[in-house]
């Protein structure tokens, strides 16, 4: 099986470890991974601010990059959601690109979706002896419908204690340019989210979107809170290595 990575600009530039963990997990399942070089960004920052032409210019790089792909897998529910929810509309006036956009929708998955629904994996054989809480990202949850997949994966991790996060489904206040343009409101939102993460008693906060994690993690660090913030891919891969050690 061959998968093309839609790495997303955030992971590419800020969180390469997430990409690395993701590749290693896919490799573990014998998936051949490639990284089409011509991709940049899904266009969401511009699109959500109302700059459609600008968004389309970036989004087009994904159409070009993934034309020949069988599967496209991404570490972000938000960026995948952008493709699923808005690409057909973004390219609707161009007959060829609109067909390409629809084809891209059909073959693009967020990582946990891909693992659970395509590879049929819910137990990656990981061990992670820590208290963990999970923040479901809004776009993954609502634009893409990623609800149970991350929880299924986490529930099979050995020795992992998942604790509930109060108001889990509430937005963390990132929202891309929102965090800059409406930073007072955004700060109020992220402060509450960070407080609730701390209240949960978790040692680790896990999520499926680098943007949200950067936001909540940035707040936790500013407050000097020792909570470790991890992408689901990082947690699973770290756990898979521990799992291997134990089973030997």
């Amino acid at each position: 099986m061959k998968v093309s990575l839609f790495i997303t600009c955030l992971v590419d530039n800020f969180f390469p470890n997430v990409g690395e963990a993701m590749v290693r997990i896919l490799h573990h399942y014998g998936v051949d991974v490639d990284l089409p070089e011509s991709q940049t960004c899904c266009g969401q920052p511009a699109f959500n601010s109302g700059y459609v032409k600008e968004a389309r210019a970036a989004a087009k790089t994904l159409l070009d990059a993934f034309d020949g792909a069988d599967y496209v897998v991404s570490p972000s529910g938000s960026c995948t959601g952008m493709i699923h929810h808005y690409f057909p509309q973004l390219f609707q006036d161009h007959p060829i690109d609109s067909a390409r956009a629809r084809a891209l929708v059909d073959k693009t998955f967020e990582l946990s979706q891909f693992l659970v629904n395509i590879l049929n994996v819910t137990d990656v054989g990981a061990r992670f002896p820590h208290t963990v809480t999970y923040h479901p990202s809004c776009h993954g949850l609502r634009l893409l419908g990623v609800k149970d997949e991350p929880l299924q994966l986490l529930s099979h991790v050995q020795d992992l204690r998942l604790v509930p996060l109060t108001g889990a489904n509430d937005c963390c206040g990132f929202g891309g340019t929102f965090a800059v343009k409406m930073h007072d409101i955004s700060t109020a939102m992220v402060s509450e989210k960070a407080d609730r993460v701390v209240e949960s008693g978790a040692e680790v906060l896990v999520g499926t979107d680098a943007g949200c994690l950067m936001n909540i993690g940035g707040r936790l660090r500013k407050q000097g809170q020792p909570v470790r913030v991890m992408h689901l891919a990082e947690l699973l891969w770290e756990g898979m290595q521990q799992g291997k050690v134990v089973s030997r």
Binding site: C9, V11, D12, N13, F14, P16, G19, E20, R24, H27, Y29, G30, V33, D34, E37, Q39, T40, A46, F47, N48, S49, G50, Y51, V52, K53, E54, A57, A58, K60, T61, A65, C138, H139, R142, L143, N169, D170, C171, G173, F174, G175, F178, A179, V180, M182, H183, D184, I185, S186, T187, A188, M189, M214, N215, G217, G218, R219, R221, K222, K244
Partner: protein, 485 residues
């Protein structure tokens, strides 16, 4: 079209929300109320079961009605007139207010009592009547409180969400109460006594309209306190103000809305009272109004018809569920929106109904998390509309020069992978002076709002794409433990 423009044009949503964020009581009250309402909605919709099927049915009914509004509104109007009701059409808020003032003056009315209605806030009818020396009394408990305080509602369903019981006690004392405690029973009892007298003396009763039934010409009101019944039963003249989109074709459709609206608003299976009013009292009846006047308001609504992106905003049934789940509303409350309709529906509806410059910043007061769409009982895609309104601002040249430049820059960088890679490489070098222990510290520029409250991560030493090739090679050599196919 708007008469409120002047009041708020000087401030922006950013200014107003900054003020609201400093009000700890307000934030606590809004959090408590919205959590309570959304919890009740979740419980009651779960008890009903098949909630998604109900939502879809609600959407279908509203969609069909609005797409054929000319037919159903006509049918409604004909039926109202057949029952002896009077119907008026108002293109805008001013016209609606003038129409009502004329009716009230013709009746030589001194006192008008009102039950809660968002559309009456929209046309600022109280101000118009008071200017002509007519006493107007809000009779919904929450509306009565904020009328005494001289404020606007801060929530569609619970207007006085932002008032404490001791503030309420002071307001009631100023209105003539004596020896009042802050006990809810005590406060309510005073309002009951004070307003009962008004109901019995009033010349005119004014209500909104939750739904207008085309097949019979009936006006349907959902209320809990009973003031809606008082207002529509006791005064000699009943004036209904309704948005032109309040129509439902049949009572069979009303059953669907009766299941959706109270649950979405307060988590009730049904409000205490659902009153269905068809025409004025019959000649032989000893109560009910002699005259029924219905003012049908456009005020920017018809401009949404035929618009692919925004027609659905007319599907709204004014339940307030989107407010209760909105993380932005949760932190800033209703007044910060500066408009009659707050929350996500307000951030969409207000700039649509008011075509001018005021309020065009409301669509930015959202992180686009989509919780509003998920909560909406008739599935209005509010998050998509917020994006579409931002796009409209760009198209109409309303956005700031710096922002336009920034996105032109974005386009330059992100349209071609080669340029993107070069820019990112440069940025990695450029960030070095800003780095403190692996994080970016910025005390100026657009990032300041971020770094004031959060650490900002630095660009990684090497990008993922730079690392990828070596990972691939290692894997091909079987070095990273992946099970080979």
């Amino acid at each position: 079209m708007s008469t409120e423009k002047d009041a708020i044009q000087v401030t922006t949503i950013v200014d107003r929300s900054r003020l609201a964020l400093q009000d700890d009581f307000l934030r606590g009250a809004v959090r408590f109320t919205t959590e309570r309402l959304r919890g009740r909605k979740a419980a009651s919709s779960e008890e009903l079961g098949n909630w998604e099927a109900w939502r879809e049915r609600g959407r279908q009914i509203r969609s069909h009605t609005i797409a054929h509004l000319d037919y159903y509104l006509r049918q409604f109007v004909d039926n109202v007139q057949a029952h002896g009701g009077h119907v008026y059409f108002a293109a805008n808020a001013e016209e609606a207010a003038q129409t009502i003032v004329k009716i009230v003056e013709k009746k030589q009315a001194k006192l008008a009592v009102k039950s809660k209605s968002m559309v009456s806030e929209e046309i600022h009818i109280n101000k118009h009547l008071q200017e002509r020396g007519i006493e107007v009394v809000e009779t919904d408990l929450g509306e009565y409180i904020i009328q005494l305080a001289g404020e606007m509602p801060s929530h569609i369903i619970i207007p006085a969400i932002h008032k404490t019981r001791s503030q309420i006690k002071d307001l009631f004392t100023a209105a003539g109460a004596t020896n009042l405690t802050t006990d809810t029973k005590d406060l309510t009892a005073f309002a009951r006594r004070a307003l009962r007298d008004k109901f019995l003396r009033a010349d005119v009763g004014m209500t909104g309209c939750n739904f207008a039934i085309a097949e019979s010409g009936s006006v349907v009101l959902f209320t809990n306190e009973g003031n809606g019944r008082m207002v529509s039963t006791l005064p000699k003249t009943h004036i209904v103000t309704m948005g032109m989109e309040r129509i439902l074709p049949t009572f069979a459709d009303l059953e669907v809305m009766a299941n959706l609206l109270p649950r979405s608003a307060t988590g009730q299976k049904l409000t205490t009272y659902m009153s269905v009013i068809t025409g004025p009292r019959r000649a032989e009846e000893a109560d009910g109004p002699d005259e029924l006047h219905i003012v049908i308001l456009d005020n920017g609504r018809s401009s949404q018809l035929g618009d692919d992106e925004f027609q659905e905003v007319l599907h709204c049934i004014r339940c307030g569920a989107c407010l209760n789940v909105c993380p932005v509303y949760r932190h800033i409350g209703g007044h910060a929106y500066g408009s009659v309709y707050p929350g996500p529906i307000g951030a969409v509806l207000t700039p649509l109904l008011n075509q001018g410059e005021a309020y065009q910043d409301l669509p930015y007061a959202s992180s686009l998390c989509g919780a509003c769409y998920e909560a909406c009982p008739v599935k209005i895609p509010l998050h998509d509309m917020l994006v579409a309104l931002r796009r409209r601002n760009v198209e109409q040249g309303r956005t700031k020069w710096a922002e336009r430049m920034a996105f032109q820059g974005y386009r330059m960088v992100f349209a071609k992978a080669g340029r993107y890679k070069r820019v990112m490489r440069l940025a990695r070098k450029a960030q070095k002076p800003l780095l403190r222990q692996g994080y970016v510290e910025s005390t100026m520029g657009p990032l300041m709002g971020w770094t004031e409250s959060r650490h900002a991560p630095a660009l990684a030493k090497s990008s993922f794409r730079e690392r990828f090739q070596s990972m691939q090679q290692a894997w091909r050599r079987g070095e990273d433990g992946g099970d080979q196919v």
